[in-house]
Symmetry: C3
């Protein structure tokens, strides 16, 4: 095994950033990992190569913990003694907490887990896991599946249709279609049902029989009961901070038509500059120094990275893995904008109409469960500090004033449409028993889920072209007009 | 202050193109700028870093004017003496022409302008500003707002809706929604209303109170009365030619569904090659040498850059900042294609039906105000010369022949739809008093603004896939069929 | 002529990968090519520069044939003696097989062909041409034009509309609109009609008069009767393997809404990683070593490249230029998914309803002409081997199980819609004489061509977000509901 000596060659050939020789000569891999690699260098050479270029393959936790506080990529104060001075290889991650894992199994003499969970990663990265664990992302399954309103919409979208005399019915979504659409991003529930035998290049082996696997959704429920998948953003087995910071990571899920963050950012001046200058940026630096390592922000700069001034000494924003924690207003309208939920688990919200939602269809915010005006101010101040790394106070204030006024108008357009929908229900044009299963209701859903979101995201992230003819305002206006024509035609016929 | 000495370190760390040491040791920043930076290195470190890596921070106008004509990035013959030999820093730009600026104010002992305008940039870049100033871009506000036809459409798109007994009415667009949609690209009117006090990290300060700010739209009306924003394409504070030449800059505004230039180019062979080879190109060279600095063209190569042969001696196309000046046919159909307007301000156009438009709804070109056939030929020859840097004469001719024939058919499809719209108005299916406020009229607008534009752009820029099922021909055909079904149903009912 | 000596300078200036000096000093260009360049360095400097940086300009076939088998980029065992030891320049390609070329002509003393065809490229690359020649791509014209069902749809999409008393009729598509939409990708038929005189910078010259030119479609019929255009993916005149391997190449044609391969990949974890790490990959290596030269796959890795393990010794997948040959299930539904056609020419397929299609509208697969279950298994094993370079056997199996189940449900949704369409035809809501020319039929086409394809591609390539609200499942569900509402309204009116 000469992996550590092979690594530099790979790095040079691949044109990767040159590393200090000192670092490369330090920590060694564990004997267990060495044994893993004896087969896996042949069985899965791609992920072995990916790992060999990673920091995990080059540094020990001890070395990582020895860095200056702002340069640390590891939040643990101590790590288990047997892991401290070797590099972090196959066995160090897959061999953790096997007692808690329903997917633990015997594999060529070792007990390992098939799935590495955030709780396992927390061995070295506890702060990251704690922050993440309380976020909306970590509760992404329950927030959709266990909310009867959203689940009814989900069922209408992906449930197999049955056509009978009473009309079109949607069956409960099948696990595979759910996993190949909504829950690919939201996450699946990994359940283990004993062992199964599979054929591999090394013969038959026994492995855990896991349902709804593979999946990398942000709210995945793991075989140890933990929530989330670090690999949703730090993909296997490089766990690269560069990849996580690049906008393409967020663009796996946060894309048009319903959550057009990527699309709007791409059309913004931030996207314009970053995409033009990306090869000049230092994507790997910790801390991430505004104006020195990067100019224009990717998603990560504004929403979660540890950002400092160019010297690296002055913190502009602290690192967080609760990706909503710098946000005050939730512009993903359900159905209008509203203060961010106070907790990541949103099923407990209750609006004045008794629905488990943050607002009523007439735009009234829920009395509890949303963050307070003070907390909103605090968070806006936090985000503004990031903006001010490059923009004057006046510029930042001006942006948020325009944003507030524009969002108020967009919400007003949604509320008007909700009024027309209510009129249509009252007139019998549609049946509110299921508010999502008729064509007129589909138009209404498009209004708040797609048209309004597009316009709000466009203003929030300065990709305003998106708010004109692409889903945004033209969609909002056309829908109001068309709804009114459909409703008033029936009113006239009745008169 | 050691900014000039810091710069090289930043450059090396960021992986930016290495600069000649000679250049770095030459011009110094002015004492005024040095004083600005004393606070702004802390207040807005991001833009300071951006500026430090810019040419403005490294060269004086004197040095820039000393270059060979084709290598010059500065068109002034002389510059004010007090600016000639220092680098171009904060004060050199923000301190210009303060007597003309309604946004001039006292700021820690200096009179400066909050907004730097194209007229200010013209101190060193007069040719660029003169060219730009007569372009359609510079008149982008008036061309939309002051044209009653387009303004009626704008009002329908972004005006808040009021629903009463007479139907749905659109209120005049609010300033904030206008600025967060159409006028984000077209530009806002910056009006100054005295001073206001704001809280900053350095305490309370007084600054001009500017409405509709921030904005970087191409037709912005500045507090000195000038038109445009150089930063729309050369973003603050790097003013990078690399960024302006990258297609992401144009893609802030020239995107689907209405102006799908980016989308079509991305699917073209030009886009394919450039996006694949982008890291091999020299994006900063002046002049820009075809076949040497780049292979496939970005927007800038065809529409505005100074392009030479590989030796750098033979000019293929001269630089222009009137981005329409190499174009003969306007394929952004209003409502069909037509010769380019002769002037950037298009509100004075008058078609045979008395509308301020370049064509009638039946496709008849306005008698005046459009460029002549001779001028069209001259411009096509100019563009063809750029094409011929890489393509044979026959290839280029063949392309433009296919394009002409395809566009003629697309226009014909629009004219047929216009005929059906007229029939619908005559039959009372819609009310032509406002030609844009009913659902049937929305379909008609989509036909010429989105479907037809998509197909024309796809042919012009060889991203023809876009013309099949994505908005283009399928949209054109479906709309004609659907329109005819709607109209003929009424005709049958009347019979 | 000092092209070879100029080349290194260009390479350094352009930041291209440095080449070994040895290579640059070896083969020389032929005297004929030297003479070509005397004019073309001035006439078309861009393509000359592109060629100068290419391998064609730097190596002779003799050198290329001397490489180790896996490193060879040339499949010929021998090449014509007169070509063997010079570099491959203008004359070497344009002067080939002139006796077979209807576009051969006299050009300044040489007989050359205007169009270089795959048959010409086969002089050095015979395996590539043979593989390609039997692929669906090579038959892309006939597969569309000569299939009466698909041609009827094509006519509805791009045929000029005539409106008369009987309704809207689509004329046969014009050659130019066909070439500027469907056949830009599928390819045009290049027909030569004598010579024509054109004006060039070097005066009047005579060249072949070729209709439907320029075109780079994958199924182009060339003036020598051969099929295809190598330049569709290896664009002129660099013929770069880097460009062909980049996803932007495939994205010229394989894009939403009908074939959303690029769009889905871009949103997948593969796209996320590759787009984030692209500058670290070695895009030019042959063989292409998984885990060493690249991590995440571009289109080429899975569908056609020679891929080995990191050592370069162990072949994971052999190179193929029949891009469908690693595929078992055809998810481009016509109208449902089905086993891949056994031959590239698909016009001979015949379903149980007598249509030249792989499946009936009720989803029954054609009895002949599709690959067998054994062949399907063999191909899936081939693709799985590529997946297993980075993924465990269990992961790969799990992915394909989810995919199979998801596709079955998507097909079921299409079949249900086909049933509703049939009901609409039976009820007289639409006339099945032409199944594509009414609005209701347009909705039906969208269901199988756009909504269902989106959902299938999203599952196949793990860009599942695309299957939720962007065309996929929401589109499928809405269409079933809307179709049922339209049909049941008529049923109720009749009762």
């Amino acid at each position: 095994m000469k992996t550590n000596r092979i690594a530099p060659k790979i790095l040079l050939l691949s044109g990767l950033t040159l590393l200090t020789t000192a670092a490369l000569l330090s920590a060694e891999m564990s004997p267990e990992t060495e044994e893993c690699l004896m087969c896996h260098e042949m069985a899965t050479p791609g992920i072995v190569g990916d790992w060999q270029r990673s920091r995990h393959a080059r540094f020990s936790p001890m070395e990582a913990m020895g860095k200056d506080p702002l340069e640390r990529r590891i939040s643990a104060g101590t790590v288990p003694e047997n892991m401290a001075s070797s590099t972090i290889g196959c066995y160090e991650c897959h061999g953790l907490n096997t007692g808690d894992h329903a997917d633990a199994f015997e594999h060529f003499g070792y007990t390992i887990n098939l799935v590495v969970s955030p709780k396992d990663c927390a061995t070295c990265h506890p702060d990251e896991q704690h922050e993440y664990n309380e976020s909306k992302k970590a509760h992404a399954i329950a927030n959709l599946r266990d909310n009867p309103v959203y689940h009814a919409l989900e069922t209408e979208v992906i449930g197999m249709k049955v056509i009978d005399e009473s009309g079109v019915q949607s069956l409960p979504p099948s696990a595979h279609t759910a996993g190949e659409s909504c829950y690919a991003c939201h996450g699946t529930v990994l359940t283990v049902d004993g062992l199964k035998t599979i054929d591999t290049d090394f013969g038959e082996i026994e492995i855990p029989n896991i349902a709804n696997w593979p999946n990398q959704g942000v709210g995945r429920i793991n075989p140890d009961g933990s929530r989330g998948a670090c690999t949703a953003c730090h993909p296997r087995h490089g766990f690269s901070i560069e990849v996580a910071r690049k906008p393409y990571t967020c663009a796996q899920c946060h894309v048009e038509p319903d959550v057009p963050a990527w699309d709007v950012w791409k059309e913004s001046k931030h996207g314009n500059i970053l995409l033009s200058e990306t090869s000049h940026y230092n994507w790997d630096a910790v801390p991430w120094k505004a104006g020195e390592d990067f100019n224009a922000p990717s998603c990560s700069v504004c929403h979660n990275a540890l950002v400092t001034d160019p010297s690296g000494d002055e913190v502009i924003a602290n690192r967080t893995h609760d990706f909503g924690s710098r946000l005050w207003l939730r512009i993903f309208g359900l159905v209008t904008s509203h203060p961010q939920p106070a907790h990541g688990l949103t099923t407990t919200l209750l609006n004045d109409d008794g629905q488990p939602m943050p607002v009523t269809f007439t735009g009234v915010h829920a009395k509890t469960g949303l963050i307070s005006p003070d907390e909103m101010d605090k968070r806006q101040a936090m985000m503004s500090a990031v903006c001010r790394a490059c923009h004057s106070t006046d510029w930042v204030n001006g942006h948020f004033e325009q944003f507030d006024l524009a969002v108020a108008e967009i919400d007003e357009m949604v509320i008007k449409t909700n009024g027309l929908m209510q009129q249509a229900w009252d007139l019998g044009l549609a049946d509110p028993a299921n508010p999502f299963d008729e064509s007129l209701e589909h138009q209404w859903v498009k209004q708040w889920l797609i048209n309004a979101n597009a316009a709000r995201y466009a203003s929030a992230m300065n990709g305003q072209d998106f708010a004109a003819f692409k889903y945004g305002w033209w969609g909002l206006s056309q829908t109001v007009v068309k709804f009114h024509e459909q409703v008033s035609k029936v009113v006239q016929e009745k008169e």
